[in-house]
Subunit: 620 residues, 2 copies
Amino acid sequence: QVKLQNLELLHSTMHHRALVLAQLRKWLDGLRFRDAFECMRKLRINLNLIYDHNPKIFLENIETFITQLNSINHINLFLTELKEEDTTCTMYPRPESCPSQTQSVSGLKKVDVVCDALRKAMESMDPNKFCLSILTAHVKKTVPALETALQKVHELRENPPEAPGAVSAEEALKYLLFLVNVNDLYEHSLGTYDFELVLMVAERSQKDPKEYLPFLNMLKSLEPNYQRYAIDKHLKRYRKALVHLSKSGEEHFIELVQLVKEQKLYSDALRLYPAGSPQYKLLSCAYAEHLVEQQQAEQAGLLLWRCGEPARALQAFTSCSSWRNAICVAQQIPLPPDQLALLARDLAERLNEQRRYSEAALLLDQYAKDCEEAILALITGAFWEEALRLIYMHNRQDISETNLKPALLEAVSTQTGFLEAQIATFTRHRSRLAVVREQKEKARLEMLDEEGPDCPDAELYSEASSVMTASKYSQSNSRISSRSSKNRRKAERKKLSLKEGSPMEDRALMHALSEIITTIDKMREEIHSLLKALVLFQFEKQAEKLQQAYEGTLQTMEGALPEVWPEGLLSSNVTGPNSTANSIMASFQQQKPAASQQDPEIPTAPKLRNGVKWKLTILK
Amino acid sequence: QVKLQNLELLHSTMHHRALVLAQLRKWLDGLRFRDAFECMRKLRINLNLIYDHNPKIFLENIETFITQLNSINHINLFLTELKEEDTTCTMYPRPESCPSQTQSVSGLKKVDVVCDALRKAMESMDPNKFCLSILTAHVKKTVPALETALQKVHELRENPPEAPGAVSAEEALKYLLFLVNVNDLYEHSLGTYDFELVLMVAERSQKDPKEYLPFLNMLKSLEPNYQRYAIDKHLKRYRKALVHLSKSGEEHFIELVQLVKEQKLYSDALRLYPAGSPQYKLLSCAYAEHLVEQQQAEQAGLLLWRCGEPARALQAFTSCSSWRNAICVAQQIPLPPDQLALLARDLAERLNEQRRYSEAALLLDQYAKDCEEAILALITGAFWEEALRLIYMHNRQDISETNLKPALLEAVSTQTGFLEAQIATFTRHRSRLAVVREQKEKARLEMLDEEGPDCPDAELYSEASSVMTASKYSQSNSRISSRSSKNRRKAERKKLSLKEGSPMEDRALMHALSEIITTIDKMREEIHSLLKALVLFQFEKQAEKLQQAYEGTLQTMEGALPEVWPEGLLSSNVTGPNSTANSIMASFQQQKPAASQQDPEIPTAPKLRNGVKWKLTILK
């Protein structure tokens, strides 16, 4: 009997609540906030609904809301009940006929949006009257703005409002203490630099005056800027601390450098001193040291150079092969000629190691005054025309015979051999790709045959096989999924194995073919310049052989494109080898690919730069 | 009655023919060529069937065929009846149970394949016995090898075969005259350089001896090589003519140059003379002139330089801004210093016009000895580090103040303005793309709604609309279709109009967006070097502003990628906006795209080079 009664009660309650909510929605739509508010308070309905029901309308009519409530306490009640949760999704779901109104304001949190909107409205309406609600709005933000709130109290102390019924600093502080933990408030009160305010807070806390008084007295005894620095540092506000410390006199500069180093505030610190000052120089040096540790030697060099430390700048530039800057600094110092030559040789050696031969040659020629080494560097780098330029500039035609010509002939045989090797690999991959594709197609047709053409299972099958393939390989990658896209791509590459029978072998082969084509295509300029040099030195036959070999290679690549990338082939996952008409359509409608997201993409066909003319018409 | 009889006869004939063909196929499969041949001759069945029935087997058993026929006449009959047409496709279709055997031998013509195969077999079996058939095989090729046939007659005259029953030159010629038009044969007989043979042919022609005798006598009077040249030229065999003329003595060299120029045989001619000879030089100059006319001045220069014509080479190199070669040649001449400086200035001016500022600077600095102009060129080209290098090299720090610094500040404002403009266009295109896509999707859904989801007409509709779109634009392009792919791509571009409402507007917008992204991405290096220079000269604030602007732009681009190129979007025509599930599958199975071939491709998403680090850590 009792159970039945309870159930009935429950039922009627539920029915009742639905009616109430319908009424509330009507009121809110009609901007009757006061009626809604009072009803909700009485029936203990979560006040968040006032906002959640239609955030846009609430924010647009916030002054109406304040005027209708017309009570500091009610506004405070509303503010303190604010939660991030959307009550129309949780407690009070909308009826289906009523579409969702919730549109999150770009990335901001709901509680912050409402607090700030209410506070701004109240500040513009009557800052004195709404003083306590304004404090509440500061304190209730997701990260409580305690300092701002305390700043308000501080202002009330400094300029007590004259309006009748205005809140005093005393009252405001009391209210704050009611809202916030007193120890938190004490810490933040320091941030106002208002010692009386600090004392007021401290007295209301359970803190032992024997503890805080000596600290406060110590602070009081300090020079104002240094005092603020000490407080800022205590509150871990290092940027502010830095500014105050910089104002507190030269005697604290060592402490400042310490702070800058500890907190890595180099850029901020540099901004506080004029470019020519000794502090600027010292800070630049400290920054440069830090940058060198961070593998940013070139930027370190720039800082050192501009602050007037050329010797150290030179070191930094040299260490990262920033040779133009290094040479400029060296000439500014100025380094004596023999040392400049040594520096140039040192830099050239580094550049040669990095295969930056033309830059090395410039250093050797113009600064080390060693044209022979310069020419040799250019020959090594296959800069034939530039090598010839230096040969004629320094009247060293002998090097043409001793080095340039033999190097040209060697280059021909290297390039010819390279082309042959590339073509061989290309042809092997291409044939294998045809075999793999045929096998896949055969397997697909066999499966369709087994199932009969009208059997929908065929599609299921092929999707299942795709899932199986994916899961087989996804285990090892599951850890990786959260990492950067670069890592993901690396992982994709790994899956692309050229091993015969590997599940992605066709894609791996296409990838390998694409890379060969790109490599060959990139050789156009190199071959062109080699051909010209060969013609000049009467190596007509070698040039013709090379031109024919390269042309043949390019033609092989171009001719293979329609086969390797047939026109019907899709470069997206959606229509990968395992997809079906249904999966394609599904993905099309959902704007999401059907195939496993972890599958590497089918490599797209590389573009040949046929606009780059490399052939010599004077060769057959 | 008669009609009925005729019909019956026709019917029995048809029936009979089917039986005959079945028998013939059996014989041919059994390599019983003789039985097949005789039956075919009697029943007037086209002899081509012997080959067409199974080309592979015929070619593999060609000696069996010859041995079985064992008759020059029969072989000649077979050869003369050969046609390009495949009789199993036209006159004698295969029964369905018998799959097609025809596999065209890679690009070669059937008639040529059969003639050559038969000829080679007969030559290896018994060249004397099969002499006339061999001649037939030469003459019946798609391009009759008259000269080769005549050469055979010439050989018979020179070395009459001793074998009994062998064909004499006389007989062979008679046979040839029976096969070929006598005037054609006369012309080609000249090509054997055998005047008696020519006379033999001529006497059998209707030619007037008063006409040909003087010509032949004139030829006979010439020096042998010059005689052959005259004949070659008469027969338009210019390469042979050139070789014979080159052997006919120096007095004909002017005629040779004339021939080379007329027939553009420069490369061939150069090969006939040693590199140091005066003829080589003269021919090189002629070739160079021709190359300059063909806009190949650099290659012309190379030829002139290597044949010892530096002054003319210099002119050629200068005209095409091949400055390194020009300077080398100038120093080889050698040009006096003041003229070299003038040349360098001239070349630098051309390079500046082509925006090749760093090359211009090198010329101005090292050859014109005008470091100021060199530095200004580098500043114009935004080569800040290199400009600074020259400034320090020549101790011209004053230029830093007067030119470099102002240029840096100008570059900042230019770049900032450029970025703003690009972002504005980007944002406009991006919003418009969203609108266009929404409209297309809406139109698609509306169409599906109207037709009902199961109505197959919906697909027809969408395909029809795609065809309509294509035809609307194909009119103007129909002329172009046969041109090169470059032109085709140009035509595709044209179809991509950004005009609102243009049928390909979405693709045009994607194309435009892709181009902006690529442009912005390419600026990384430029911005990086500008930032470094700004920092060095204490333009910290400008550098920070630029860094922020560029970073913001890059982020906007990167952020837009998933929207502009959603993951489900396909980059192939197959699944273009107008395709359907059926068309996708159809194209998939046929390896052919369903959408119109003339549709421009959907532009693929550009790749950002995030590996290129451009940001300075020392800037905020």
